[in-house]
Symmetry: C2
């Protein structure tokens, strides 16, 4: 059980009262002492962003986003999906960008530009080049990300007009516009701006389905004026306990991208616990906003033989549609937890699992963030995974989502 697991009576309301009703809404996130929330639309100093509408999503919704660092010097890190059918923008980032010195990112929502062949690759390069030209910077300093339907050619002319519009609208207070411009089935934008010890971090994310990051996840953009000397190590360390610990439907996306940009303007170091808390809260917002989701679960496995075994079992539980529907139905059905664990360890023989090894009371509670745990009795390793419940709304959304 987690730190707060010993007190199952903490309701969401009580937790919110304890934590304040701001960005850090989850019971599973520990905000660093002294952190201050700033206006979330305002980016970290030295960054500007904007969103524009080019017609990909229709209804006048914004669907092209741009975020840029004013300074020439920026340290950055870029984590990309491991999906073997990675989208064109992911391959462009992998092959034609300087991941360590990304000044700007250009993003569209509504079209994933995945499984679009050689044309898709050329379109992603053109989108990237269009942003670089507007900004007057090197193309290799611009990352490109796209999200939406797979297998549809990009209407490049529309997107390039959107890039120009977004460039014209760039603003230090454009974080909220940018966050909205990258949404697909998200119920709302996911963003924050926080200050701690003279360092500001702003971040925007999107994601609601096709979510089981294999490395990074969905789309997330983080800007800071902190000094970050090894951005890749810093970002990997913060992604491991956050985006790599969530699942909505067990489906690794073709387009996952996380970008961290640090311009060093504050002259101070980034405190790791701040980035950890920001990414974990954003990851949990993606789970809570899972397609059709009403509740979030945290599956913890303890006493596993190895960390890998603990993680394998925790993922099997979190991805079981039977556990996910039990969470939706408020059903403390611990037998399904035993079944999923046994499936993950197929071919071995577990010590006889029984009710005394499993705490599924959270499933049966009305808490929006529910905990469950399984004690394997095989060793000393543990792992946990956050997941969303499976509801009819998920089925409806995905049975009707336009191809």
């Amino acid at each position: 059980m987690s730190r707060r697991g010993a007190d199952p009576a903490v309701s969401r309301r009580e937790a919110q009262e304890a934590l304040g009703a701001g960005f850090f809404r989850s019971r599973w996130v520990e905000p660093p002492d002294g952190v201050e929330e700033l206006e979330p639309a305002r980016l970290a100093p030295g960054f500007r962003a904007a969103g524009a509408a080019c017609g990909l999503k229709g209804g006048g919704r914004t669907d092209v986003g741009l975020v840029a660092c004013d300074a020439d010097e920026v340290n950055s890190a870029l984590l990309l999906t491991r999906n073997a059918a990675a989208a064109a923008p992911v391959r462009v980032c992998r092959d034609e960008c300087d991941a360590g010195s990304i000044r700007a990112a250009v993003v569209n929502s509504g079209n994933a530009n995945a499984a679009t062949g050689a044309r898709g690759y050329r379109d992603a390069v053109a989108m990237r080049d269009g942003a670089a030209e507007a900004l007057g910077i090197e193309p290799r300093a611009v990352a490109v990300a796209e999200t939406g339907t797979i297998g549809v050619p990009l209407p490049l002319g529309d997107v390039l007009r959107g890039v120009a519009d977004a460039h014209a609208a760039l603003s230090p207070a454009g974080g909220a516009d940018f966050a909205r411009s990258i949404m697909t089935t998200d119920r709302g934008p996911k963003l924050c701006t926080l200050e701690l010890d003279g360092v500001t971090v702003s971040a925007q994310a999107k994601g609601a389905g096709m979510t089981e990051p294999g490395f990074a996840t969905m789309l997330c953009f983080v800007q800071t004026d902190a000094v970050v000397t090894d951005p890749e190590a810093t970002l990997r360390a913060a992604v491991a306990p956050s985006f790599e610990r969530i699942t909505v439907d067990g489906q690794m996306s073709t387009n996952d991208t996380v970008l961290l940009q640090a311009n060093g303007g504050s002259g101070r170091e980034l405190r790791p616990e701040l980035l950890d808390a920001v990414l974990l809260q954003l990851a949990l917002e993606i789970v809570a906003d899972g397609e059709g989701a009403k509740r979030v679960g945290r599956a913890e496995v303890t006493e596993a033989a190895t960390p890998e075994e603990a993680e394998r079992v925790a993922r099997a539980i979190a991805n079981s549609p039977l556990v996910q529907t039990a969470l939706a139905g408020g059903d403390p059905n611990w037998g399904r937890i035993a079944q999923a664990a046994g499936m993950a360890l197929a071919g071995e023989r577990l010590p006889e699992l029984g009710a005394e090894h499993i705490d599924a009371a959270g499933l049966g509670s009305d808490e929006p963030e529910a905990e469950l745990s399984l004690r394997l009795g095989r060793g000393e390793s543990s792992a946990h995974v956050y997941f969303s419940d499976l509801t009819c709304e998920y089925v409806r959304l995905n049975a009707e989502y336009t191809t």
Copy 2:
């Protein structure tokens, strides 16, 4: 594409007219030439069966089944789930039965007797022993199988009364009563009796959820008067292309059991294609009866580097909730097929997948049995998996299923 895949215009009605409206309803099953359907309630000669109600399922529904071979001599094979949290009856079968000479099987539905600890094991042994005593045969010649809710102690006295009632009702025409007594969330009983070349095969199966057999599947009982000299090899060969090729929700059960019994009474060999066709049709009935399912898909992967790779990709496609909801919604969303394949091969780089590699037209059709295919362009291996669609009804059933 399969044998009939080149002709996508074959509707279920046309297929039924072509095949007759009998047991072999699936377009994917080739009944052996000359096979004759007998009254399905009538077992293969030399076998008797029955069902009785002991209150596990309530509403007077039968929930204890018994099937027995009259002769002392019987060759049998028993395939059991590989789930590491296997149920008590599976462990009893594994440890305390003579798998090669099983004369009878006793079954209950409504209680899986899984994750029930030492008491569950004793209860499964007692159930087995009760059947053996009533039949006057060795306990080690009786298999025990159970299916239903996990984690609930068995009301042993009720079950033993049910066993006595079923024993009293044993009949050569008891196949349908037996098939009904093993149902849980199944919409109807699954059974057949067939004759070919002087050999009779009767079979009964159940299954609708928690279905991705790791070895055997759910419950299936097969009786024949054929001579079967190596029943385990015979059964494994027939299970590989049938029960091991289906999924409803990717969830390996704690209780999967398949039993083949051959008494040799006909003096003739069993033709493998008959057992193949019977098990494949029953496996497809389990998929078609998947919890909430309206349609069945067949995901075929060709041009994979190895058979293992082909199977891994086919399973990833078949188990993707995004592909399953596309099947439910009649949405030819081939991008989700590319995404699932890329996830199965995470960390590698696929040749650029595009529409020309994927045939998803079946998803968008109104056929109850839909085909989809993916050409990987990496080698010469192929594999296929049958799966059911994911509907709101699956969610409703599993969110409400009593613990």
